[in-house]
Structure formats: C-alpha cells, structure tokens
C-alpha cells in the first residue's frame, strides 16, 4: 500500500485525514479498496455517491435496468436528462463528475448466479441495494460461499433495516439466512413499486450503508456484524437488536445444506432491481 498522495488528493480528503481514526493510512486503505454496489437505485445512489466522494478506489456498479421518471423521486445519482439510459452507466457518469480519482466499473447486467460467480471474487465488500428477494438471497448465499462481507440495507414505505453479514468468518457471526431462512412466498411482502417508499428514507439507509462499508475498510468502530439496525421514520426511532448465528441455519449451520448457488440457477427473472 502506497502512502503517496497528490496535492489534489490531500486537499480533497483533508477532512478525512484530519480524523485520527482515518488519517493518511486510512485514506490509503480507502483508495486500495474495491467495493461492489448491486443496484444503482434508491439505496445504491447515496451509497455510491458517498463511497466515491470518500475516495474508495474502485467501485463496481451492477444494474441491468433503465432509468425511469418514477425513479427520480429517490434515486439521486441520476438526472432527468438520462431517462431511458442504463442505471449503472448513468450513476457512473455522476460519480466520475463528483470524483474523477475513483475508477468506476460498469456492469450493465442482471445480478444472476453467473454474474455473482464472475463479479464478486473481484471485490472486497459487496453492498445489497436491490429491490427483490430473489436477488437478495442470491447475494447473501454468494457472499457467504465466496467469503465476502455483505452490507445489506432494505427499505419499504417509512422503514429501513441494515446489517452486515460475515457468516463466512465462522461463529459467532451470523449469515443472512440466520435472520430470514427463506425468501417470503411471492406476493406476501410488497415491493416499493407496490407499496411506495419515502425517498428520503432510502437516502438515510443508503448513507448508513456507506458508513458501514467505510468502517469495514478502515477497521474502525463496531460494525453491524451480528446486529440488525431498524429505523421507523414516522416514529423517528432507531433500534439496534442482536442477531446471533443460528446453529440450525441451512447456509452457515453445523448441518448446512446450501453448498453452492445451484438453487439460484434458472431462477425466474426478478421483476426489477431498483
């Protein structure tokens, strides 16, 4: 890891470097880091913006979707003039304008089992900002099996949830299936396009997600590994609850039955990744 910074880098990141917990070494760690953001939507927009602004060296953006007018109420990495464009490409343009020092890798494709196997090994940390349970379970399983930390946020209406899953590190760390063993049957839980979401709620949750990613890269503080953060915007109430590893878990338990991504092959195409 090199500690050489240009004068522009020193100026751009000066408020980071001032922090004892970051400093020049932390800033160099951020520059070395490779983070994969899955979904350039409501969560992925603020997440990618803050990671790029922070100087995370390489950001991968995965999204197969095209930008629609109804996205712009919350997906702040995009602009009206880019409606109809691929969302990974559109977000990459915004990030490049914000911080040209960051390398953005555009993956304008659906996150399926093949994409998970191809892309995830090239990154240090994976962030889930997708809008369907199929992709969420694929990412959770893939990150566990490939040994990558997963920073996972979810929103609906006025609510947000966030956790960091590192079950691959062994006990006591839980995996995503310790919280929810299976995706809900189709139609039981509405999506944002069915039930709505307050745009600012995605902004808060995506920004908290970015904060957890930065903490993981820097190795500072207590991450949400083994905890679940719950936020109800209407009550203005945050709660953090303990999440333990489930010995009976099908992915990380003693008698785990999920050994590969075969259950995710030929899965029906999710309705949307937003």
């Amino acid at each position: 890891m090199t500690l050489d910074f240009t004068e522009n880098e020193l100026r751009r990141y000066s408020r980071h470097i001032l922090l004892a917990e970051v400093g020049a070494i932390g800033q160099a760690k951020l520059r070395e880091a490779r983070v994969l953001v899955v979904g350039a939507g409501g969560l992925g927009s603020p997440l990618a913006l803050y990671l790029a602004a922070a100087g995370v060296g390489t950001l991968g953006l995965v999204d197969h979707d095209t930008l629609e007018l109804s996205n712009l109420q919350r997906q702040v990495a995009h602009v009206t003039a880019r409606i109809g464009r691929n969302k990974a490409e559109s977000a990459a343009e915004t990030l490049a304008a914000l911080n040209p020092e960051v390398r953005v890798e555009i993956h304008a494709r659906r996150m399926d089992a093949e994409a998970a196997r191809e892309l995830i090994p090239h990154y240090d940390i994976v962030c889930d900002g997708t809008d369907n349970f199929g992709t969420r379970f694929l990412l959770g399983d893939a990150c566990h099996l490939l040994g990558k930390p997963l920073v996972s946020a979810a929103v609906l209406r006025f609510e947000g949830q966030l956790s960091v899953f590192q079950g691959h590190r062994g006990a006591p760390h839980p995996c995503h299936r310790c919280l929810h063993p299976e995706p809900p049957p189709e139609g039981l839980v509405p999506t944002c396009s069915e039930a709505g979401v307050l745009g600012a709620v995605t902004g808060v949750m995506g920004t908290l997600q970015a904060t957890e990613v930065l903490k993981l890269i820097l190795g500072i503080g207590e991450t949400l590994t083994g905890r679940l953060l719950l936020w109800d915007a209407l009550d203005a109430r945050f709660r953090t609850v303990k999440l333990s590893r489930d010995p009976a878990c099908a992915l990380c338990g003693e008698a785990a039955t999920i050994r590969d991504l075969s259950a995710h092959e030929h899965a029906p195409a999710p309705a949307c990744v937003a």
Partner: protein
C-alpha cells in the same frame, strides 16, 4: 397468591397477556402472523425461526415483530 397462569408481556409496545408456557411460536399463532414474512425480536435479540417453538415466553418479556422488507 393468584393462581391465574397468565404472563404479562409487551408486544410492539402494547401490553398483552399470554398463557404461562406459551412459546414465541404460540404468540405468532395468536397474532395470526405468517412465519415467512416476519422475524421476532425478544428483549432486543432476534430469536431464530428454528427456535421459536422451543423458546418459552417469560413475565415482562418485550417482543417486537420485525417485518421482512426487501425494497431498494
């Protein structure tokens, strides 16, 4: 001493009584909640779904039903 075998607990911030010996699974059945769309938090700790039936409720327990959400 009362012999009423009821436990006073709190569910989503509201007081509630359940029969002594009731488990987390029994409470969800009482609340008519479908297992695939919730997680359950008891005294600030998530109870794994595999342990619902074997986790008895105690006097004064505070439970929250955490809805499964997946929007982005």
């Amino acid at each position: 001493m009362s012999t009423t075998a009821m436990l006073r607990i709190e569910v989503n911030g509201e007081p509630r009584e359940v029969p002594e010996g009731a488990s987390v699974a029994d409470l969800l059945a009482l609340l008519n909640l479908a297992a695939p769309k919730v997680a359950v938090e008891r005294n600030l700790e998530i109870v794994p779904r595999s342990a619902w039936a074997a986790t008895p409720l105690s006097e004064g327990d505070r439970l929250e039903v955490v809805h499964f959400i997946g929007g982005g």
